[in-house]
């Protein structure tokens, strides 16, 4: 049988998908154990027990300065920035994407600008944002928004622009005006694509978040990682990275589930 026709059962998929992850973990454990056998105070590859202890400290001992539990305070601060940045980007993507995709005059006026902004590496804008907006929350949120919005706007605009011409003609023959076509034909069909765009934007959004936090911040997951790096605290860095990965996966799965529930017609339900 050809490889392209080899479909796995659910159980086999689980085994196939889990094996590489498990191998990686085992490889890490063996190497860490070897290093600890040679040097019991090794910091580079901490053992799970060391990581558990470091994280328990961050989870239970309040910060002497602020009185917060560091782990949750970091998580909350980072998620707030990420949510605001992505939210603003999503709003822009929806409004601009729909208008650019559906209305040729708006496309002519704004498409070059959006394309121009999209090609600027957002990290290069970070100094400008820090100078213009200060080192507070605003600059971090704006960095995320500017970083992901242009790609999302272009994606939604392209999707709306590629709706079959027949559908638009049909709507016109039903007496729909431009606004009604945008609201009832383009918008609903852009929604699943928007959720897809958010899922794809999550990766870059995290990059911009961690970058901004690494450069100038006093709280946040990225800030913590870059802070404890000075002390070679791999026992904090590794759990934090794993936590970021878990959060990202949860967001991705949630968005996919929302799309499936809210827009069954876009996921080939039925036939």
């Amino acid at each position: 049988m050809r490889l392209i026709n080899r479909h796995f059962s659910k159980r086999d998929r689980l085994i196939a998908g889990g094996t590489p992850i498990l191998l990686l973990v085992v490889f890490y454990l063996i190497t860490a154990l070897q290093r600890h056998a040679a040097n019991p105070s090794d910091k580079i590859l901490p053992l799970p027990s060391g990581m558990a202890k470091a994280i328990t400290d961050l989870l239970t001992t309040p910060d002497p300065l602020s009185g917060n539990l560091v782990f949750w305070a970091d998580t909350f601060a980072s998620l707030q920035r990420l949510g605001l940045g992505l939210g603003i980007a999503t709003l822009f993507a929806l409004v601009l994407g729909l208008l650019i995709g559906a209305l040729p005059p708006v496309r002519a006026a704004l498409s070059p600008l959006v394309t121009g902004i999209a090609v600027i590496p957002p990290i290069a804008l970070l100094p400008i944002l820090f100078i213009a907006l200060g080192l507070g929350e605003t600059s971090k949120v704006v960095l995320i928004a500017i970083g992901v919005a242009p790609v999302m706007v272009r994606d939604i605009a392209a999707h709306v622009g590629s709706l079959p011409r027949e559908q638009i003609i049909k709507a016109e023959t039903l007496g729909a005006n431009s606004w009604q076509i945008i609201a009832r034909v383009a918008l609903p069909q852009a929604m699943p694509r928007l959720l897809q765009a958010i899922r794809l934007a999550l990766g870059p959004a995290w990059v911009f978040l961690i970058s901004a936090e690494a450069v100038a911040s006093d709280i946040g997951l990225g800030y913590r990682i870059f802070l404890v790096r000075r002390y070679l605290s791999m026992d904090v860095i590794i759990p934090y990275v794993a936590w970021i990965a878990l959060l990202a996966i949860l967001m991705d799965v949630t968005l996919a589930a929302i799309s499936k529930r809210a827009f069954p017609w876009a996921h080939g339900e039925g036939r």
């Binding site: 559908q167 709507a171 016109e172 009604q180 017609w265 039925g270």
Partner: protein, 259 residues
């Protein structure tokens, strides 16, 4: 004879390429006009002209004696071969949409009593095309034939002056196609429609139409194949228009009355 739609010396050119030349056509009320012709003979261009999707390069198109605006409007309904229905609306939503558009220019939606009234009207129309049992399905859950039934209902709810069909049954299998022929003939008679249908199935053109128009190029320059456009080379009246006599199939008269 009252011409509902008339094309006067209509030309369509894209740059140097002439697609249609010197098309003169009068379509009377109640006619079922089939347009046939080889690929690239401008069948679809002609349909797009009548639809208002394109403006002619030269010539005039009149609907009810008024010049046609180069924009699609609710007086001309259309059913395409594909993509005619909205995939994100249910069957009922697809048909109700046509009633919501003029009634709710800003909200783009009807609510309450007005909505129930529109839905009742839409349901009646869906009954007429045989989709009364599938009101809440999405188009992707239906077969190709059912989707075309829906597209027809969607167009007819607007009571268009002209119904334009662009190879509406081209993607359907022969059995379903025969059903659809029965359906469109019945609707044409019941709603006294004026239909313009583009098809490349000659049998279909003659079974359904009261008049068959064949488009082709009269002249051909092998060194400049785009120099000359297509025009009506045959115009065969089959049966007297508004009198529907679909049971008896009269002999098609090969009278070559070119327009």
């Amino acid at each position: 004879m009252s011409a509902l739609l008339s094309l006067k010396n209509v030309w369509v050119e894209y740059g140097d390429k002439v697609v249609l030349e010197k098309v003169n056509l009068e379509v009377s009320e109640g006619a079922f006009l089939s347009i046939i012709g080889p690929s690239g003979a401008g069948k679809s261009s002609l349909l797009r002209l009548i639809l208002g999707q394109e403006a002619p390069t030269r010539g005039k198109i009149l609907l009810d004696g008024e010049p046609l605006k180069p924009e699609c409007g609710p007086d001309r309904g259309v059913v395409f071969q594909r993509y005619s229905v909205f995939p994100h609306m249910t069957v009922l939503g697809n048909v109700t949409f046509g009633l919501e558009c003029p009634a709710a220019p800003f909200a783009a939606r009807l609510f309450g009593t007005a909505r129930r009234k529109a839905e009742a009207e839409a349901t009646a129309m869906l009954e007429a095309v045989g989709l009364a049992d599938n009101l809440n399905l999405y188009p992707a859950q239906m077969s190709g034939g059912m989707q075309q039934r829906l597209a027809i209902a969607q167009a007819l709810i607007k009571r268009p002056r002209i119904l334009l069909l662009d190879e509406p049954f081209g993607a359907l299998d022969p059995g379903i196609r025969a059903d659809m022929h029965g359906l469109i003939t019945r609707l044409w008679r019941d709603y006294s429609l004026t239909v313009v249908m583009v098809t490349h199935d000659i049998k279909e053109a003659f079974t359904l139409g009261t008049r068959v128009l064949a488009l082709d190029k009269r002249r051909h320059d092998p060194h400049a194949p785009h120099r000359y456009g297509a025009t009506a080379v045959y115009d065969l009246p089959l049966r007297g228009p508004p009198v529907p006599a679909p049971e008896a199939t009269p002999e098609p008269q090969p009278a070559t009355a070119a327009s």
